[in-house]
């Protein structure tokens, strides 16, 4: 027993010495980080999103080795899950929501961070893609009131689905199978092949599984992906978006 004790004491001493010399480093780190967001980012997000926010962190490659989606490159400012028109930056709430809920399949929820920490990291992310004008992003207005689902609405939704050519990517059955659709040609902003979502799987709605989430996606589009905004096509017939959403949700009955 004696020798290991000596060794333990020695190694603890070594660690302590190392620790006290390095605590200098630790203070500088938190001093630079005025808002507290940097430290949270480094602990929780860096490993995927990279130190400079380019989405090239040490773990960024694996989930999406040769196909979409890699972790977001925050410097491009090309956000998918927005409530703002195509091409705009997201609102703070949009970013907060992604951090809180995660993105099914790709990014786990960080709801385990205290709410204040999540807001701090929102501020930190925005610094990566500072909009020169600094203007506050406007959100799109969704057609109100929501139209509850019914067989008539679902039928109407199906005809809108075909009329707007959604099936060219997602397939007539909504499953987006490669071979039956243009799925093979689709790529994201990083030139990685990006299969369209399988609309028959409740779990594949990354932004959320409610009709409102889908309606919002139709008006905003998913920037950086082939999925466009339909704000123009739906102009004048905005309520069709609800029918379309009801139809899509009817494809995944377990939902």
């Amino acid at each position: 027993m004696k020798r290991p004790f000596r060794i333990l004491i020695t190694s603890l001493g070594f660690l302590w010495a190392l620790g006290s010399s390095l605590s200098v480093y630790a203070t500088t780190l938190s001093e630079i980080d005025v808002s507290g967001g940097a430290l949270i980012y480094e602990r929780s997000c860096l490993v995927c999103h990279g130190i400079d926010g380019h989405g090239d962190g040490p773990a960024a490659f694996y989930n999406s080795a040769y196909s979409a989606s890699r972790p977001r490159d925050f410097t491009v400012g090309n956000y998918k899950y927005r409530s703002t028109p195509s091409g705009e930056l997201p609102t703070d709430q949009d970013i907060f929501r992604v951090i809180t809920n995660g993105i099914p399949g790709a990014m786990p929820s960080f709801g385990g961070l205290p709410e204040s920490a999540r807001w701090k990291v929102v501020a930190y992310l925005k610094a990566f893609s500072q909009d020169a004008t600094g203007k506050k992003p406007e959100t799109v207005t969704l057609p109100e009131p929501a139209i509850p689902t019914s067989s008539a609405s679902v039928a109407q939704g199906r005809s809108v689905y075909l009329a707007l050519d959604c099936h060219s990517c997602h397939g007539v059955d909504g499953r987006g199978r490669v071979g039956l659709t243009r799925a093979k040609e689709l790529i994201d902003s990083r030139n990685l092949p990006m299969p369209p979502s399988d609309l028959t799987l409740a779990g594949s709605f990354k932004i959320g599984p409610s009709a409102r989430d889908i309606v919002r996606t139709l008006f905003t589009g998913l920037d950086g992906t082939p999925m466009p905004s339909y704000a123009n096509q739906l102009h004048g017939q905005e309520v069709d978006a609800w029918h379309l959403a009801n139809y899509i949700l009817s494809l995944s009955p377990s939902n």
Partner: protein, 462 residues
Amino acid sequence: MGLTLRDHVKRYQPGFREIFGLGIVLLVTSFPGWTPDAEAIPPFARKYKVNCNVCHVRWPRLNAFGEQFLENGYQMPGTRDGGLVGKVRLGDVTLDDVSNYIGFLFDVEPLTHSTMRRDVPGAEDQTELANVNLLRMFTAGTLTEDVGFLMDITSLFGQSSDFELGRAFVSFNNLGGMNWGHLRVGRIDPSAYFSLATDRPQFFPVGPKIGSPFGPFGPSIQRWSTLFGSAAASKFYGIFDRNMAPIFPISPTLYNSTVEAGIDLHGRPFGDWFLYQIGILNGGEERWGDTNNSKDWYVMTRFDYAQSDYFSANLSGFAYFGNHNAKVLSGADVSRSRYGVGARIRYRWLDLYGSYTIDRITDLPNGMAATFDDTATGVTIEAHAIVTDRLLLGTGFNHMDAGGELSQRKSATFLSFQARYYLRSNIALQIRNDVNLRDAEGGTSPARNLRNQVVTNVAFAF
């Protein structure tokens, strides 16, 4: 993987279980659509609704994010989230959906072919069918904020129908501040945070077939391959555990053991670049109890570089001090210690790692020095490449400079290749080939006379 070589000792009898097991595998693999929600199968993937490859380079090896999750005691890095994703609250304890904390691992070798050197009596080429390796059930998760747990029980179908307890520990996380100290208590795998963790080998372990209890010396050992890699292995011939059962030279042990009872503290108090680990174990290859009345100790430090460009690298070193943790043939206690270094580089499709260990035996009884080599070393180097989203190719080199009884001692050098195809991120089909780089020689040692071995393997976790 929570296994020692003892677990892998197989007396091959093709039985109902093997055939049943193979049936299940064929069934599962022939219905790729059987799992509704695509890839998220095993418990953590289910719990956090992400693909296996969020945490794994390719299952089962971890990527940098998976390592952070593990280090934080099964919580998202930077959080104390234990229980937040939970569904059932019992007072201040939260339980998840059962499926979120129970998982299964199943591993079958449908076909194995070993080429032996022909002039050894009784050693013939062998082809085996449906060697069901193991079925493991594990449960892991968090009980409440900053308290994680893991337990696994394993059944080795080829050998016995008993389920045996593997790791079982509770982890108290973020003591003294975020990432300062995480304490594991129970039956643990000490090398979990080392550059080359024994757990989750990318080369699936292949068990030896041993025909008599004293296999490593007798003529009946028929398979030898790099079970867990030579750096992790015991490397000594002629040493025994408390019950005088042989400790096989290829069995992972000491710091690199797959399970030992003890306490382990690790953390990153100065940021992501430095990790310390320190622990105390019962040692002595004892699954239960501490009949040798002495403890083993270890210290490990690891340096990390991981920031951007899909690149990460780490370098680690440890020292393990054993105390009466083995016996020699006379029944006398000896002490085994180990010093090791390891490194790992991951860059995009490349995962490259290796480890070198030196083992020393002290307290040898008087007069044994002339017949017993008290030093042994081992090297393991592996490289794996993600060739497509589903295909992983790998190669490995293992060299063991064995120690122990000079009359029995045989060093071994093997080169391995493997191709692994992932039907899904949690179902892998694999073919692995191990080639003996040493010259064949007379005698019965598989370290020399097993010339080549091809193993096919199907593994899935869910």
